[in-house]
């Protein structure tokens, strides 16, 4: 099977449990899921949001009534080592 044109970023399992930190070094939590948007028949799903934090863990466990914290992928500045670096919030 032909390899895709795009560069292989990582596997989803490799992203799981990475630390989510802001550019100024504040730890926000750990990655528990990657939220994608996709329409059947359309192109491959695009990762839209990173779900993190303790409520993300509960949602992963199937407790869907919790609204976990998430950050849009466009705010992700880098994925390096064990960290996902997101833009620093003004709050």
């Amino acid at each position: 099977m032909a390899e895709p044109q795009a560069r292989i970023l990582a596997s989803a399992c490799a992203m799981e449990l990475k630390k989510v930190v802001t550019a100024d070094g504040r730890m926000l939590g750990r990655v528990f899921d990657l939220r994608c948007r996709w329409e059947p028949g359309a192109r491959a799903p695009v990762v839209d949001q990173v779900v993190f934090g303790k409520l993300g863990l509960l949602e992963r466990a199937g407790l869907r009534q919790f609204k976990p914290r998430s950050v849009h992928w466009y705010l992700v500045e880098a994925v390096r080592g064990d960290e996902v670096v997101v833009a620093a919030s003004k709050r």
């Binding site: 895709p4 795009a6 596997s11 899921d33 939220r35 994608c36 799903p45 990762v47």
Partner: protein, 143 residues
């Protein structure tokens, strides 16, 4: 699941209220967003003939200008062995091998209770062990 759906259907007859259709696959069929690790990882994969071809053991992500996209499903021991504790990561490949089948996302038809593919398992190189065991059993005179 089918048992509870049948129960719900039976209850409709008694009380006259609406019930879930037995063939309903839930809201995921119509939603355009899904959680990759919750709703795809470790889910069963079925081919176009509804033959089970294993579980999604990992998911390959590729970097594109739009952001990361899901490029393939990875199925087989080579995909799940890295998720094991360190000691088992050393033993498992020696016992189970490290074969991995890469199924491009273009082959995915639907994400629901199972991940339905557009092609047959054989065409994608899935279920090789099942076919080998099936062929071996068919050669046995008593089968």
């Amino acid at each position: 699941m089918a048992f509870w759906l049948q129960f719900a259907r039976g209850a409709r007859g008694a009380r006259g209220d609406s019930a879930v259709r037995i063939d309903a696959c839930g809201p995921r069929m119509t939603r355009h967003t899904f959680d990759l690790l919750l709703e795809v990882l470790d889910h069963e994969v079925t081919d176009v003939d509804d033959v089970s071809c294993g579980m999604v053991d990992d998911i390959e992500l590729s970097n594109t200008p739009e952001g990361p996209v899901v490029s393939a499903l990875l199925i087989g021991p080579g995909a799940w062995i890295p998720r094991l504790p360190a000691m088992l990561q050393w033993v498992a490949p020696k016992v189970l091998g490290s074969a991995t089948v890469r199924v491009p996302w273009d082959e995915v038809e639907r994400v629901a209770e199972t991940i339905k593919l557009k092609s047959t398992a054989g065409a994608l190189g899935l279920g090789r062990l099942d076919r080998r065991v099936g062929a071996w059993l068919s050669r046995k005179p008593e089968s």
